[in-house]
């Protein structure tokens, strides 16, 4: 029985019924990764350690944890002890961390087996995975098309059925947008729900780790393990973590869903609109009520984000200076020359662009006009959300205004074109709110994603709503034809 395209719940069943051993499962996963290496999902494989860990899992009659023996892929932005962690950047191309990120550690402690590190936009800066030092990732649905980004490798690996689930990080849509483009489910939790310890920072106040999987159910399983307060991350939330899986089958009669007026969905591609209208109908059948809501400041999300995120990134990436770790230029004249050359050689164009934007936004004389102003607008956007969540439970938008596009077709002349890809996803990062993307059909043979945004710490509501949708549709079961990649 093939393990490809199986969910965690399905694989758990196979393991528990001893149809397959953990060892066999890992081996088959590694073989699938190898078979589809043309997708370029992985930067580094963890064959040896994964094989060893899996062989140590002895089948028993006791009920094991959901993740015991489960193969997972980790975005190459999570530090993994002894396993190369590159952030898909030349500057970290040879970096082997001496410690493991809390999120990964928790999954591994629950029995999950890390089979490899997935490709991504360099330092998570990008929406197409095209900024990776290790090359483009193909969308499993169409060769030569982007998988979305920045967690493109994780999304493609799950969509191709290589692994049942993978970790990702989301700063402005980096879990949800690739999940949408690859036809899978991706959840960005509430800011602080998952520890950021060991996650290589892009924009500290926006970064959040979360799961990418085939189903909302599987996302709940991963989130159960990943969540929780971590004393090593003072911004992680010291709040109770509910059992997300146990709460996943509640009726949604009377749940109020808001449609955001300012997003002008009527101007979108008519096929994208059509999918969205259908999804509204699906939820109406399940008993949800729809209302139009207004978030007056939400249209300022993109410029606000592109002031704050680069500012934080310009500071966060200062530690990559060639002194203690990472790429160091040769034949340098003095300390300053060492910095200039190491960083010029080590960073790609998009990373440099954002460091420059951020440095500018924080400079004396510009700080008030850019960074400080952006933080004030951010507060207004958050207030807008607080206000609408007094009258609705969930907000619903398409995840992305478009489906996946061809390599090199967007943002090469004008980066802003690509920044606008994040229009619908960015605001929940600015407000720190949880949001999930689920597949809801196809547009021109490419997957389209539906986004649900929830109130603070209401991942359970989102997972529940997403799960009910998936129980009443089969979009999430669609499988790409991978002939072109093997």
């Amino acid at each position: 029985m093939s393990i490809q395209f199986k969910s965690i719940v399905e694989l758990r069943g196979m393991l528990d019924e001893k149809l397959i051993s953990a060892s066999e499962l890992t081996q088959e996963t590694l073989q699938l990764a190898k078979k589809y290496q043309e997708l370029n999902c992985f930067v580094t494989m963890n064959d040896e350690v994964a094989t060893k860990k899996a062989s140590g899992i002895i089948p028993s009659d006791e009920i094991s944890s959901w993740l015991e023996g489960m193969p997972l892929a980790q975005k190459d932005l999570f530090c993994t002890k002894g396993l190369r962690t590159t952030c898909s950047s030349k500057i970290l191309a040879d970096f082997i961390p001496p410690y493991t990120a809390t999120a990964v550690e928790k999954l591994e402690d629950a029995g999950a087996i890390t089979i490899g590190k997935t490709n991504m936009d360099e330092f998570a800066m990008g929406s197409s995975n095209e900024t990776s030092f290790f090359g483009n990732v193909h969308n499993p649905w169409k060769k030569g098309y982007v998988p979305g980004g920045s967690s493109g490798g994780s999304a493609a690996a799950v969509a191709a059925g290589i692994v049942p689930a993978a970790t990702g990080t989301d700063t402005g849509g980096s879990i949800r947008q690739p999940a949408a483009h690859c036809g899978i489910t991706g959840l960005k939790p509430t800011y602080g729900r998952v520890s950021r310890w060991g996650m290589i920072a892009f924009a500290s106040s926006l970064d959040q780790a979360g799961p990418l999987a085939r189903t909302a159910e599987d996302c709940a399983i991963l989130l159960n393990s990943m969540s929780g307060y971590d004393s090593k991350d003072t911004t992680s939330l010291n709040s109770d973590v509910p059992d997300f899986l146990a709460n996943i089958n509640q009726p949604i009669d009377g749940v109020k869903i808001g449609i955001i007026k300012e997003f002008n969905l009527g101007e979108l591609d008519s096929e994208v609109q059509a999918r969205f209208e259908e999804s509204i109908k699906t939820y109406e059948k399940l008993g949800a009520q729809f209302v139009e809501v207004s978030l007056p400041n939400i249209s300022a999300s993109v410029p606000t984000y592109y002031s704050i995120a680069p500012a934080e990134c310009s500071s966060n990436l200062s530690r990559f200076d060639g002194v203690r770790f990472g790429h160091r230029a040769e034949n340098t004249d003095d300390l300053n020359d060492l910095y200039i050359k190491s960083r010029s050689e080590g960073f790609g164009d998009e990373v440099k662009r954002r460091i420059l934007i951020g440095t500018y936004a924080l400079s004396a004389g510009y700080y008030d006009a850019y960074y400080k102003k952006a933080q004030q607008v951010r507060r207004l956007i958050k207030n807008d959300f607080d206000h609408v969540f007094q009258s609705v439970d969930i907000l619903m938008t398409p995840t992305s205004p478009n489906t996946a596009f061809k390599f090199g077709s967007k943002g090469t002349q004008n980066p802003v074109e690509l920044y606008l890809e994040d229009l619908f996803t960015i605001s929940s990062n600015l407000a720190g709110l949880p949001a999930i993307s689920i597949p809801h059909g196809q547009v021109n043979s490419l997957p389209a994603g539906l986004q649900l945004i929830g109130n603070f710490l209401k991942e359970d509501q989102l997972l529940n709503a997403a799960h009910l949708f998936q129980k009443n549709s089969d979009f999430h079961l669609a499988q790409p034809n991978l002939e072109d990649f093997s």
Binding site: C79, Y99, A203, T234, R319, F320, L362
Partner: protein
């Protein structure tokens, strides 16, 4: 022309916490390079700072002692600049909402008291250390100090001479050691300052252009550096030129200040709130706990010493002025009853010795047990005060106990009247001419006889007994 000097000091106090400000690595001084360093201190990708509340408590204690406003909610900011011993490429510090705001400190100079206002005091992390001269062709970096908590205390520009600046630093030293906020060790850099110095014409309202002398770490250098800078600025102004606003370094070997290379300070630090740390909130409970556990301050100690140990006001003040001296006194006072003798010794012999060696009492070989024992032996007349001084010298060199020294050198005082009488008889017999002269009225010769007795007993005869018996014998 007459010039007025205006000085403001930025004092860096290294807080005596066990671990660093944002990591749980040790802050012990003098460890092997890069051993007090963990993932956070070396700024590895993915690491995050976490708060050491102990540093806050110490900062608050200082704030309370100077009657400052304590911001129970304070935030951290990033100060961005590249340097090889600054692992993250930014320093975490406090800009807009420092923990301590305002307050004042009293300084004492030439018998008068002056109040100096404090602008603010904020917490920040120290950088590591670059070593440029130990490895041929390489620079080395030691990150042991990186992340050590510092409290930067900024004074208003209210000091008007180098001597006042020194008095301010001495008051600061007393305060931070008393409050157990810092060990105050200037040689190890636990207490150092930057001095902002400017001069103006007498009576001018507007301040002159200032220069900042960086990183001065001894009282002596503070005085010398500021005095040099005042003279230099006067010379510049009197020759019709202008003082350049710049950062300067004091060279103690050449006794001069020199401008730092412009590259070393021409930075736009791009401050912004540290997104990896939430605002730090100190609860009312924590505030009252800090108040309840407030240590006794010098003036309170002074009063108590006069009452409890019956010390003179002068002695009490001197002993209480130094935390380490006061601690030593109180421990020794548990082991002896003669508090006056103890304080005399601490103020006299012990202080003289420490001043000569330029060390703190804790750095010397003196210990509480030995000094108390010495006081007791003098008090119970086992030895004379004079012999005590000989023993003290040896205690300081070897740390040996007084009893051992008395035993091994046979220094025990002869207090047996019979034995002393015998010796005096010998002296009288051997010096009949002097006895005659004395009896004829040459009173000054009495000292000669005492000296002879001491000579024969190697100084061990009880001086009081010698005096009494000698007077008796010479009457006859």
């Amino acid at each position: 022309m007459n010039w007025e000097t205006v000085i403001g000091l930025e004092t860096h106090v290294q807080l005596s916490t066990k671990t660093k400000l944002f990591s749980r690595a040790s802050t012990t001084f003098g460890a092997n390079p890069n051993t007090n360093v963990n993932l956070v201190d070396c700024g590895l990708p993915g690491v995050l700072p976490s708060i050491n509340k102990e540093a806050f408590y110490k900062a608050i204690r200082l704030g309370m002692a100077i009657n400052a406003q304590i911001n129970q909610t304070s935030i951290f900011d990033r100060k961005n600049y590249f340097y090889a011993d600054l692992p993250k490429g930014y320093q975490i510090t406090q800009m807009d909402l420092p923990i301590v705001l305002g307050g004042s400190i009293e300084i004492f100079l030439d018998g008068t008291t002056k109040k100096i206002n404090i602008t603010r005091a904020h917490l920040e992390e120290d950088a590591g250390k670059s070593i440029h001269d130990e490895y041929d062709g390489f620079s080395a970096i030691d990150l042991n100090r990186a992340g050590t908590p510092l409290l930067e205390i900024v004074s208003e520009p209210e000091l008007s001479s180098a001597k006042e600046a020194v008095a301010y630093m001495k008051a600061m030293h007393q305060l931070v050691t008393y409050l157990d906020v810092s060990d105050g060790n200037m040689a190890q850099g636990s207490l150092r300052c930057d001095a902002n110095v400017s001069i103006k014409k007498n009576g001018d309202k507007e301040l002159g252009t200032r220069t900042e002398i960086k990183n001065i770490n001894s009282f002596k250098f503070i005085e010398k550096a500021i005095n040099f800078e005042i003279k230099r600025q006067i010379k510049v102004l009197e020759s019709g030129e202008k003082v350049t606003q710049e950062t300067r370094l004091y060279d103690s070997v050449k006794d001069e200040t020199r401008p730092m290379r412009s590259k070393e300070f021409a930075n736009d630090y791009r401050y912004f709130p540290e997104p990896d740390l939430l605002p730090v909130i100190i609860s009312d409970e924590e505030m009252s706990k800090i108040k309840d556990e407030f240590p006794e301050l010098p003036n309170e100690k002074e009063a108590r010493y006069q009452k409890q140990f019956k010390l003179s006001a002068y002695d009490a003040q001197i002993i209480a002025s130094s935390k380490s001296m006061a601690d030593f006194f109180e421990s020794a006072a548990n082991q002896t009853k003669n508090y006056t003798l103890l304080s005399n010794w601490l103020i006299g012999e012990v202080s003289a010795y420490l001043n000569k060696e330029l060390i703190e009492i804790s750095e010397s070989k003196l210990n509480v047990d030995n000094l108390a024992m010495l006081i007791n032996r003098i008090d119970d007349q086992t030895i004379s005060g004079k012999i005590g001084k000989t023993i003290f010298e040896e205690m300081c060199i070897n740390g040996t106990s007084p009893d051992e020294i008395i035993e091994s050198k046979g220094l025990k005082q002869i207090s047996d009247d019979g034995a002393i009488e015998q010796i005096i008889d010998t002296v009288i017999k051997d010096n009949s001419a002097q006895v005659k002269a004395y009896l004829e009225g040459k009173d000054k010769l009495f000292g000669f006889f005492v000296g002879q007795v001491m000579k024969l007993t190697q100084g061990k005869a009880n001086p009081t007994s010698v005096n009494t018996i000698l007077k008796e014998k010479l009457k006859k």
